[in-house]
């Protein structure tokens, strides 16, 4: 039993390491992407400055300019560490081009295989962008002054791990549609837009009117972005913390099961020719 587990661990560690080498090929691409990501941040800085120039100090449900900026800066860090980059398209092309046959013929679990690749690419991405992102955090360090980090950071890190898994399981489930659709790009971007809006990537969800905020808190998307960042800023407190974790992991389990069910159904209609 132990040796089976060891073998499995060695196998997926190897896949992880291969994934890392593969991702390193695109290090410049990663760097351009990370630096380009600062352009919208620049937009946010100026836009929110203008907004707060007009609003009362506490006009935004208790947000002031500094906390709002801390929110968007934390989102950039969260994205760098947890967001799947093109994993959906890679999975879809594996399915469409028949490359999953190679996995089917080996004692490899495709889900674990993709998780290994996802984690390895996140690690390389984080390593490449740590300098620009770190410089950004140092430059804007004043914005984090009022945040009780010693208390909130452990929760935020835990929620961040959940966020990575939630983002991945959603991505995986969506990519499974490639068994039925020739091109999944449009579906990916439709879901992406909903995740951005209802997940708190465009604005913190607690600036919404109470009924809308309440709805968003039950949807999975809030647990991708708003929940970890809200915990970090200390805006989610008390019972809401453990309730949040519960809902986050319930959604992870849900999307994992959906992904696996779609995989099994998809395999029944999968044909691979000439591989």
């Amino acid at each position: 039993m132990t040796s089976v587990i060891q073998q499995q661990a060695a196998l997926y560690t190897r896949i992880f390491s291969l994934g890392m080498q593969n991702s390193l090929v695109y290090r410049w691409n990663f760097l351009v992407r990370a630096i380009a990501g600062f352009v919208p941040l620049l937009g946010s800085v100026f836009l929110w400055k203008a907004v707060f120039a007009d609003a009362d100090h506490e006009a935004f449900s208790g947000y002031n300019y500094h906390v709002m900026m801390a929110y968007f800066l934390s989102l950039i860090v969260l994205d760098a560490l947890t967001s799947p980059v093109e994993d959906d398209f890679a999975i879809a092309s594996d399915i469409r081009d028949g490359r999953i046959s190679q996995v089917l013929l080996k004692p490899i679990n495709y889900f674990t295989y993709r998780v290994s690749l996802f984690l390895s690419s996140r690690l390389v991405y984080a390593a490449v962008v740590c300098i620009p992102v770190g410089a950004m955090l140092i430059f804007f360090r004043d914005y984090f002054d009022s945040i009780p980090m010693a208390r909130t950071l452990p929760y935020a890190l835990l929620a961040m791990i959940g966020s990575a898994f939630l983002q991945f399981t959603i991505t995986y489930a969506v990519a499974m549609l490639a068994f039925w659709l020739l091109e999944i790009g449009s579906v990916v971007f439709i879901i992406f837009s909903i995740e951005f809006l209802a997940g708190g990537h465009v604005f913190p969800l607690d600036v919404l009117p109470a009924p809308l905020y309440a709805i968003c808190r039950w949807l999975p998307f809030a647990y991708e972005y708003y929940f970890p960042v809200g915990l970090f800023l200390g805006r989610i407190q008390g019972d809401a913390i453990w309730q949040g974790f519960l809902v986050q992991w319930a959604w992870i389990a849900f999307f994992y099961l959906v992904g696996q069910a779609l995989w099994r159904r998809g395999l029944k209609r999968y044909t691979s020719v000439g591989n």
Binding site: V32, D54, S186, S193
Partner: protein
């Protein structure tokens, strides 16, 4: 000139026929762009729950700015962007040979080959939202201002066109320029913000050197406040300079093209 128009129309007809083979996909992509547009408007809606003005722009003026920016972006996406995105692949695979062998301008062929009819539908939506916002502001009806608005939008498209072409020309030296495409989507995000909000060096750079803050701001301001000589002449001048520079740079890059596997 008429020959180029003829070629362009033929390429559009071909693209349209190709798009129509996948009708479901065609409709889904329209929905994607519409959702992103709606997302911007929702964001503005949330902002104006709490404030009355941002950098001197009222709610409906801001909606007009965003829909104008969306209109410029969709026109750009309809006619040019997809072609810019394909350039690195043409260079990498050596398929650019085919374009070089044609007796017309290579830059013209490369930048007009594909056309995205779905974006035209989204242009119409942006126009409807613009018109609605204009009525809400309210703006007095003036044929001159509307004509200028539309002409300035064309200039905005040309600015995007030239700048993105310059970026993609870098793929003559770099094999993978995909990162620039994502970078460009980020620049679009600046274009829909009010110019007045930007201060300091960033304001100067994105107004006078990479004029993202002019492409939608100038047409929207023209519609709201009437025609302004200063900004319009600058936009005309910088568009001309950028268009010429991107052509030069493309030809320069072309000299470094080595083809592949043929």
């Amino acid at each position: 000139m008429s020959r180029y128009l003829h070629i362009w129309l033929a390429q559009m007809r071909y693209s349209l026929a190709r798009e129509m083979q996948f009708k479901g996909n065609f409709i889904l992509w329209i929905l994607v762009e519409f959702l992103w547009f709606a997302l911007q408007l929702a964001f503005i809606g949330v902002l104006y729950f709490n404030v009355k003005e941002i950098a001197g722009w009222s709610r409906w003026q801001m909606v007009l700015l965003i829909s104008t920016s969306h209109l410029v972006q969709q026109l750009f996406q309809a006619f040019v962007m997809i072609n810019c995105m394909n350039l690195p692949e043409l260079i990498r695979t050596g398929k650019l040979d085919f374009f070089l062998a044609q007796p017309v301008s290579t830059r013209f062929l490369v930048s007009t080959r594909a056309f995205e009819p779905g974006s035209i539908v989204n242009c119409l939506m942006a126009l409807i939202v613009s018109a609605y916002a204009a009525a809400k502001i309210p703006i007095p009806f003036s044929v001159f201002n509307i004509t200028m608005y539309l002409l300035l939008i064309v200039l905005g498209v040309l600015v995007h066109c030239s700048f993105m072409m310059m970026l993609m020309t870098l793929s003559f030296w770099m094999t993978r320029a995909q990162g620039f495409v994502n970078a460009y989507y980020n620049l679009f995000q600046l274009a829909r913000l009010p110019r007045e909000a930007f201060k300091g060096v960033a304001g100067v750079i994105f107004t006078w050197f990479i004029p993202m803050l002019l492409v939608a701001n100038v047409p929207a301001r023209t519609l709201i406040d009437g025609f302004g000589w200063k900004e319009t002449s600058y936009l005309v001048a910088i568009t001309a300079v950028m268009f010429a520079a991107s052509g030069r740079f493309f030809n320069f890059g072309l000299r470094h093209y080595t083809s592949a596997s043929s």
